[in-house]
């Protein structure tokens, strides 16, 4: 390490601040980037970054669950899908109208009517319009029809994801390691099968369309943005990422983080020392799954469509790989790994030709990705980014510890636990 060999290196206290400074700079960079960047591929770059933030939330919350709490769940995408589908179903089936339709199931709602649309599936043999569309055709625009607020759908999605996480957390209390991985994988497959099979309600593989995140546009910094502009969803997803990271940091630094790590290291020992392992396991499942669900709901509104394909094992492997490559036991590193890898995956998309052989990078990049995952697992057990952070964080710690030790031996007020131990009177 540069500081410990006494060269003209920076002072350790200074070095320890480097990760913080880098973090602030990175946040500033991402916050200002959309305002400064003026490339011709602006929308594309924005899209890549929004997706990167989405994966960063998933990967950070998964690393809390797997790296901190040691619960290797392979069903994280299922909770993401639960959030996305809750938002989609809510937006699709609940509407507020000025008058009663007389066709749908409806209840009075503060002077208006809350309408529950009937599910008609993808191709109904008898109906080509659901009851609300029929009523709207009859009204011909004379009655106001408003959709539910987008944020309410997202909140509901978060709650449903948290609830599902809570229930799964209770169910897996007794399961560890391989059994937990299989159970969560099974859960994920069941969710996928239900979504694919209940075509009447979820429209199956056809997917459900959602309104954009800001359907009526939004005004930021005195500038109006339309529903398809990239800047509002960019800041929404970025803000969500920062919020999630803040919550995770707060959790990790509190007693909760300590107990959860104790759970990981030795569940029985933690329980014997009075940690309520049941409660912490369930709580960590609930929180991380709610985060995944929020990310899913926001992303669903951003891309405006949800399909059961988001539950493919590939998606889960991407999140796992990102967290592992970033550093599974450090959620900030996991989030950075996700952003970095998502950008790399997009950059590596361009195919090239070596000696007349065209290399189709759209698949080869994933091969390299897999190899990188294995190499990281084998040789860099803490990931590639986490050790970098630790290197600065722990600068000079070794020297300090040695100093403190020697001080307790020789200095004034030396503790009785060291050399004096021999002089303790009987």
């Amino acid at each position: 390490m540069a500081s410990s060999d006494g060269g003209p290196a920076m002072r350790p206290e200074f070095q320890r601040q480097i990760p913080n400074a880098a973090g602030v700079l990175l946040i500033l960079f991402f916050a200002l980037f959309p305002l400064v960047y003026t490339g011709g591929n602006y929308d594309y770059v924005m899209h890549v970054l929004i997706t990167a933030f989405f994966y960063a939330i998933l990967s950070a919350s998964w690393s809390m669950l797997a790296g901190y709490a040691g619960q290797f769940s392979f069903g994280h995408m299922a909770f993401m899908a639960i959030g996305a589908y809750t938002a989609a179903l809510f937006g699709h089936y609940f509407w507020i109208t000025g008058e009663a339709t007389g066709l749908c199931r409806e209840i009075p709602f503060f002077g208006n009517w809350l309408v529950v649309v009937n599910p008609i599936g993808v191709t109904s043999t008898t109906l080509d319009q659901d009851c609300l569309r029929q009523a709207m055709t009859a009204w011909d625009g004379s009655v106001s029809v408003t959709r539910m607020p987008i944020w309410l759908g997202i909140v509901l999605g978060t709650l449903m994801g948290g609830l599902a996480g809570f229930l799964v957390g209770i169910l897996v209390l007794r399961l560890r390691a391989a059994y937990l991985a299989l159970f969560t994988l099974g859960f994920s497959e069941i969710v996928k099968a239900v979504i694919s099979a209940e075509i009447d309600i979820t429209r199956g593989q056809a997917g459900m369309e959602l309104p954009p995140l800001f359907p009526d546009g939004v005004t930021l910094f005195g500038q109006a943005f339309g529903p398809t502009d990239k800047i509002p969803p960019y800041y929404a997803m970025f803000g969500l990422l920062l919020l999630c990271l803040a919550i995770l940091t707060w959790l990790a630094r509190s007693r909760f983080g300590l107990f959860v790590r104790a759970l990981r290291e030795d569940q029985d020992a933690a329980a014997a020392l009075g940690v309520n392992t049941t409660r912490y396991k369930v709580v960590v499942f609930t929180i991380t799954c709610a985060m995944a669900a929020t990310a899913g709901a926001v992303q669903a509104h951003y891309v405006q469509i949800v399909t059961p394909n988001m539950l493919f094992l590939l998606q889960m492997s991407l999140v796992v790989a990102m967290a592992v490559i970033g550093g599974i036991e450090n959620f900030v590193a996991a989030a950075l790994g996700a952003i970095f890898l998502q950008i790399m995956l997009e950059v590596l998309r361009t195919s090239f030709t070596i000696g007349g052989v065209e290399v189709d990078m759209t698949t080869w990049r994933l091969v390299f990705f897999g190899l990188l995952l294995m190499v990281t697992l084998r040789f860099f057990r803490n990931g590639l980014i986490a050790p970098l952070i630790d290197r600065f964080r722990r600068a000079g710690v070794a020297a300090e510890t040695v100093e403190k030790r020697t001080a307790t031996l020789t200095g004034p007020g030396g503790g009785p636990h060291r050399a004096d131990a021999a002089e303790v009177p009987e």
């Binding site: 059994y179 159970f183 075509i199 994933l366």
Partner: protein, 422 residues
């Protein structure tokens, strides 16, 4: 379904008494200081099958829960479900049409044998290494792909048998190499959480293999030629309804059930290899060493077995078994780089159902899953929904097994290997 009320009423009644039975009986056995391992399971099944009568009897007498009782109540519960279904839907194909039932059962058995064989590889790996290999489906895919490429692209006209053997050898090599390169750190406490490390490492292998094949081959489906043509043959000869009758592409038993050639060949080969495997495990030094390590790692080491070598052997064998299943089925199904996902999921279900680490459990579990799947495809009135829900049945069985009896049907309390724990 004609009267769904009857069916769902019976199911609801069974679920209610099943839950009550599992909770009550476990408590009763616990209070009486008896073995509670099977109490919850038997309670659930007895409650489901016979309702309060059985529960009161078990509650009063608290007999020792032997295998006979377990199997008996489970069979009763299954029969009850089948009876309720038959009453509720008498017009259904699988109630009224005997020929259809016979062919469904045969199909279920055939596919179950192949599933069970594949799960055997997974359980072998688990019993020695304590790791669930997430790359099992990819070995299956590689096996099939290799056979296709060997017989159709690289060496046209190659004997299929040679191609199958070569595919197995290559899969074994991949398995052994991967184990040496990636899994060795987990044996001697060099990683903090070995089981999770193993899961992630095999996950990485699966990812890499799948995309490597996709990059090399592309995403177009392929299918290998039929390995052998059956000769035309009847037994007894010249009978009006021969007991066994073969055509080039199929075999027919009792003039009733027809099995297509590739499936029949695959199932028979699986059984033969299974017998060879049993011979290997029980009669040769290496095989005995493998089983010894599965039972007790330290004791095996004291007896002069190198457990690390056995790890390599187990992983290579497990990969080879999956590859062999794939190599045999590539003549029956069209093959894609993603084809491994479904059999891998089935194998997970089967090994958990049979008990992780139990070899007979894997095979019997495979046949059970094959039969359940056949029943599910054949009997559910809404065919489209049935097709979508088929992956879910297995997973529901898996989650229920994990909740009710994590050791599975034949599992030991603590699964073998150095790292096996719940």
């Amino acid at each position: 379904m004609e009267t769904p009320g009857i069916f769902w009423g019976v199911i609801g009644w069974m679920i209610a008494w099943g839950i009550a039975g599992s909770l009550l009986l476990r408590q009763r056995y616990f209070a009486r200081d008896l073995d509670t391992t099977n109490a919850g399971f038997v309670g659930a099944m007895a409650g489901a099958a016979l309702g309060p009568v059985a529960l009161i009897a078990l509650w009063a007498r608290t007999p020792q829960l032997t295998g006979r009782i377990i199997v008996g109540v489970t069979l009763l519960a299954v029969v009850l479900i089948a009876a309720a279904f038959a009453f509720a839907d008498p017009q259904n194909n699988c109630v009224s049409n005997g020929e259809f039932v016979a062919s469904q059962i045969t199909n279920g058995l055939i596919i179950g044998i192949i599933y069970g064989f594949m799960a055997l590889g997974l359980t072998l790996i688990f019993s020695i290494l304590g790791v669930v290999s997430f790359a099992h489906g990819e070995f299956y895919m590689i096996g099939g792909m290799l056979v296709y490429y060997l017989t159709a692209v690289w060496l046209p006209g190659l004997n299929p048998l040679a191609a199958v053997v070569a595919a197995c050898a290559i899969a074994m090599l991949i398995g052994a190499t991967f184990e040496r390169l990636m899994l060795t750190p987990m044996y001697h406490g060099r990683v903090d959480r070995p089981v999770e490390y193993g899961i992630l490492a095999t996950f990485g292998l699966a990812f890499t293999l799948q995309y490597l094949v996709q990059a090399l081959h592309g995403a177009s489906p392929v299918k290998a030629q039929r390995f052998i043509d059956f000769p035309r043959w009847e037994w007894p000869a010249e009978a009006a309804a021969p007991l066994v009758q073969t055509r080039r592409g199929s075999i027919e038993f009792f003039d009733l059930v027809t099995i297509s050639n590739p499936r029949f060949v695959a199932a028979v080969t699986c059984i033969l290899v299974l017998l060879a495997l049993l011979f290997f495990l029980h009669r040769t030094w290496q095989g005995r060493a493998l089983r010894a390590v599965a039972q007790d790692r330290e004791a095996a080491a004291i007896a002069g077995i190198d457990p690390d070598k056995m790890n390599m052997l187990a992983f290579a064998l497990g990969g080879m078994i999956a590859a062999l299943a794939g190599a045999l089925l590539v003549q029956a199904f069209s093959w894609l780089p993603q084809v491994g996902a479904i059999p891998a999921m089935r194998s997970f279900v089967i090994v958990v159902l049979g008990g992780l680490g139990s070899l007979p459990g894997a095979f019997i579990g495979g046949i059970l899953v094959g039969l359940v799947e056949a029943a599910g495809t054949g009997c559910i009135p809404n065919a489209q929904k049935a097709a979508s829900y088929i992956p879910a049945y297995g997973m529901i069985v898996l989650t229920l097994t994990l909740l009710l009896r994590p050791t599975g049907l034949f599992g030991r309390r603590f699964a073998g290997g150095a790292h096996g724990q719940f």
